[in-house]
Symmetry: C2
């Protein structure tokens, strides 16, 4: 399986690239915005394509995706402004979904935020605009596409090393999860068709990634 | 018919309130955010309700709408920041749609922007975030609700007096339209069921509002 990663240079996605190296059945195409991000992927034997999610067209994205079997959306504005949140987390995500459909790709894995939905969207906090953008992107994926989606809702991302001890489910109290473990989950999601049309939260827990996903 | 106006204190909606006075078959409930906006509606014999589209809940909105037969969405952040654009033009609009459905109201008239769609959303200009927000609100109305919608796409809004000379259609070159004439169009849209499930641009032209809409 060849997976096209949108936002390949993000922190979670870079861990994903590290794990991909050890996966015989998964190859990555890394979509990068800046050519100075290329050496990281070159060093890992990962193909990269130079595209801008905001400035490039859906047709350009679809063309770059054409030999891939799945899309992993791991891009995010990451606090660079509400305009960027709208352009990347909402519209960029929907552009990527449309491009995947144009390219004939059915599998689409979305890295979402921990909790979307009305209650969270109504909280007046620094994440409100981000939460709204992510919510409507997820809604679009579930209801306005024919993609075989999975939506992963990680907890608070931390840079501690992978423990490969997680839990997945819904309506958990928020807690931490190492970015490395989220990357492991994304690998397993791509390998497991039982994750299609499902969404779940991921937090540090007591099961291995493999075991946790097999319980879905 | 009683029409619940979200964003009743906006410039177009205030003209709408002036025209409503002369309509035997249309009553207005004006949703206002500040009580100092109340006298304008009191003077015109129009009922007002004090609610905040962003801070109040869908349940509160639905409760206020419960005796109305239609919702007119004419709210807008109006350049008060990208966060407000997301909160009002996107999420606020969708909250109003959901509230209308909860209140058992089927008719929903949306004042949109002149042009949405991919080409316009990709233009890097001052209106880009607004255009994206309006686009996804319109998309939600058309595809994620069971409402009897009409979407009105006015041209460049100007404060010159109504001429009652307009044109409606699609793919026009952008041009001006007096706010008063947009308000006239909204009145006629509410009176004409042939406008249900239609969207169209409104510009200054050569037909009376009544004639232009009868050609739909």
């Amino acid at each position: 399986m060849k997976v096209f990663v949108v936002g390949a240079n993000g922190q979670v996605a870079r861990h994903f690239a590290d794990f991909v190296k050890n996966e015989d059945d998964i190859d990555e195409v890394a979509m990068i915005r800046n050519t100075d991000q290329k050496p990281f992927f070159d060093e890992r034997g990962i193909e990269s394509v130079h595209l801008d999610l905001v400035k490039d067209s859906i047709e350009d994205l679809a063309h770059a995706m054409k030999d891939s079997d799945a899309v992993l959306f791991s891009a995010g504005a990451g606090g660079s402004g509400d305009d960027q949140t709208v352009l990347i987390d909402l519209d960029g995500a929907i552009k990527a979904m449309t491009a995947a459909e144009q390219a004939g790709i059915s599998r689409f894995v979305m890295v979402s935020t921990f909790r979307t939905g009305r209650e969270e969207m109504s909280k007046e906090n620094d994440l409100q605009i981000y939460t709204i953008a992510k919510n409507y992107a997820d809604e679009w994926l579930k209801n306005r596409t024919n993609l075989d989606w999975t939506i992963v809702h990680p907890g608070i991302l931390v840079n501690t090393d992978s423990t490969n001890q997680i839990k997945i489910g819904n309506d958990f109290e928020i807690n931490e999860i190492p970015r490395q473990d989220v990357a492991r989950v994304l690998i397993e999601v791509l390998k497991n068709e039982n994750t299609i049309k499902k969404e779940f939260e991921v937090l540090a827990g007591e099961d291995s990634v493999e075991d946790a996903l097999s319980k879905l």
